[in-house]
């Protein structure tokens, strides 16, 4: 009876995952979709705790160690909720990366424990039957080792991605790194194959674990911070596959379907993200954006003089404009200036200026980052424009105010085939009459390349922290 109930629990789990993910891809139903999947997950988890049974030596066992399980569940739930509730909106991407790493580590740990279990069985097998036994367990060893490799790469990679996004880990690359990575990966896979045929060599498992962790670290290390969303999305789908390995291992359908679902959807999402930047996945992973190519584009771009504008002039220009378009970027997110930005928008609107936002699909650190941020500040949905729409509006715009965005407005993406971002669709801000750029300094953006836009005659620079500058602009315009 319990068996059947559990099957139904898992069925419900799988269906809610599919429906939840489907609903998540539509703005109107997204939140319900998330809750639905969470509900299905709870059913599957508690079903497992109370209904899961297995046969050993002819008798049916239920799961034990409830105290341990519930202790871990409760601690995890409290810490997870607090962390997720407390995190700043700007730090969301690294939070996702961190949680993803936890999932990867979980999968790797399962593999280790299951392998230890298996090697005990092998040790207990009499020599006469050992060959037979090894043949029997080969598929299981394959799955265990696969889960270990994918899980630990995902864990190590996610931790590095997390560190990079919050600035604790710097970009690091050296010549031949790609080759070294390939060698390490090949070594891990080679050992894995050897292991499948010689499962008695217990210690090899830890060698594979070490190599996989090493690969995870050095695979993410050279990739620039701007590409982290793509990397996190890719690692996300890795963890999905690692979870599916667990499903294979226990013949557990909900793990299998959930894992593969995320693996497939995550891979597609990764490709969609790359497409939004008009780059290929290979280019993201091997190109090490902004690393070795920096020199070439930097020399070509470092020319001319930029012109500064004073706060009061900027305030003046904006309050007498008919139409102002705001281009938010990562600088806005870092400065936590979304509320002040909304404030400025309200003041300008009261003065009769038409204010809209032009959102580049990859502005910020993740696709949709800016939308989330501005939505938090209560900015109305209908004045947020996507790139194509915005590009139609620029010719009739008087002032474009760029807040901490850089690469998404870099004209080199259109004109300079040597530039690493060549081909990426950009916001065509130069079509507007005046461009005011707020940045903290003249430093290049995340792609590590100079931006010609800042040296164009139409452009004036307004240096400073986005929040401070916006506050001052608000005061200036109010008093004007």
């Amino acid at each position: 009876m319990n068996q059947h109930l559990l099957t139904i629990c898992y069925l419900i789990g799988s269906i809610t995952f599919i429906l939840g993910l489907k609903m998540l891809s539509n703005p109107a139903s997204a939140r319900k979709g998330n809750l639905l999947a969470a509900g299905g997950m709870s059913i599957a988890i508690f079903g497992t705790i109370f209904l899961f049974s297995y046969d050993e030596n002819g008798t049916t066992h239920y799961l034990g160690n409830y105290i341990w399980i519930f202790a871990a569940l409760i601690i995890g739930a409290i810490v997870g909720t607090l962390a997720a509730k407390k995190v700043q909106m700007t730090a969301m991407p690294e939070m996702v990366s961190l949680f993803n790493g936890m999932g990867g580590a979980c999968a790797a740990l399962i593999s280790i424990v299951e392998f230890n279990h298996l090697s005990k069985e092998l040790d207990a097998t009499p020599p006469a039957e050992i060959i037979q036994k090894i043949q029997e367990v080969q598929p299981t060893v394959l799955i265990i080792v696969l889960g270990l490799i994918i899980g630990s790469v995902s864990f190590a990679g996610s931790m590095i991605a997390w560190g990079k996004l919050n600035g604790k880990v710097k970009d690091f690359s050296f010549t031949g790194q790609n080759i070294l990575n390939m060698v390490v990966l090949a070594a891990a896979l080679g050992l894995a194959v050897y292991m499948i045929f010689n499962p008695q060599q217990h210690m090899l498992l830890y060698a594979i674990l070490g190599l996989s962790l090493f690969y995870g670290i050095f695979f993410v290390m050279p990739i620039g911070g701007a590409d982290m969303p793509v990397v996190i999305s890719l690692l996300n789908s890795f963890t999905g596959v690692a979870a599916a390995c667990g499903g294979f291992l226990y013949d557990n359908k909900v793990m299998l379907t959930g894992g593969i679902l995320v693996g497939a959807a995550g891979t597609l999402l990764t490709i969609l993200m790359c497409k939004a930047m008009n780059r290929s996945l290979k280019n993201v992973l091997i190109g090490s954006f902004g690393g070795n190519k920096k020199g070439v584009a930097g020399v070509a771009g470092a020319q001319g003089e930029h012109k500064e504008i004073s706060l009061s002039d900027a305030a003046m220009v904006m309050s007498y404009a008919n139409k102002v378009l705001i281009v938010p970027g990562y600088g806005l997110a870092v400065a936590q200036a979304q509320h002040t930005c909304h404030e400025l928008e309200k003041i300008l609107t009261e003065k009769g200026v038409e204010v809209k936002y032009a959102i580049h699909p990859v502005a910020g650190r993740m696709p949709g980052h800016m939308n989330v941020l501005l939505a938090e500040a209560d900015v109305s949905y209908d004045i947020l424009m996507e790139m194509e729409q915005a590009n139609d509006e620029f010719p009739t715009t008087d002032v474009v105010l760029i807040l901490g965005a850089n690469d998404v407005v870099n004209p080199a993406a259109k004109s300079d085939p040597a530039s690493p971002i060549y081909g990426m669709p950009i916001l065509d801000v130069e079509q507007a009459k005046t461009v005011i750029v707020n940045k903290r300094s003249m430093k290049p953006g995340y792609a590590g390349i100079e931006n010609d836009l800042f040296f164009r005659p139409k452009t004036s620079m307004l240096f400073g922290d986005a929040k401070k500058v916006l506050q001052d602009l608000c005061t200036e315009i109010k008093n004007a």
Binding site: A38, L63, A72, P229, D251, L256
Partner: protein
Amino acid sequence: MNQVLNFITSKQEIIYTVILMIFVGIEIIEKVPSVLHTPLMSGANAIHGVVIIGAIIVMGKAEQDNYLALALGFIAVLLGTLNVVGGFVVTDRMLEMFKKKK
């Protein structure tokens, strides 16, 4: 060779599930607007937390005197819970902000 064929036959149900799920996964998110990329990734991140079920099984099966399995299982359940709970809560927080203005 025989072994491989045997494996495929005995696991055909799983293999079918995997293939169909790949198509489902690709199909359902094909038309996602770029605005939702981040929440969708975060939601998918929470869903792969199902790996916690494996951790619970490991933990529940561990013998009382097998401290290594108990310790590793405990950490695995803990990390899995973080993945699931944190993932869903973060996603909900992101989506909450979209909802206000709908």
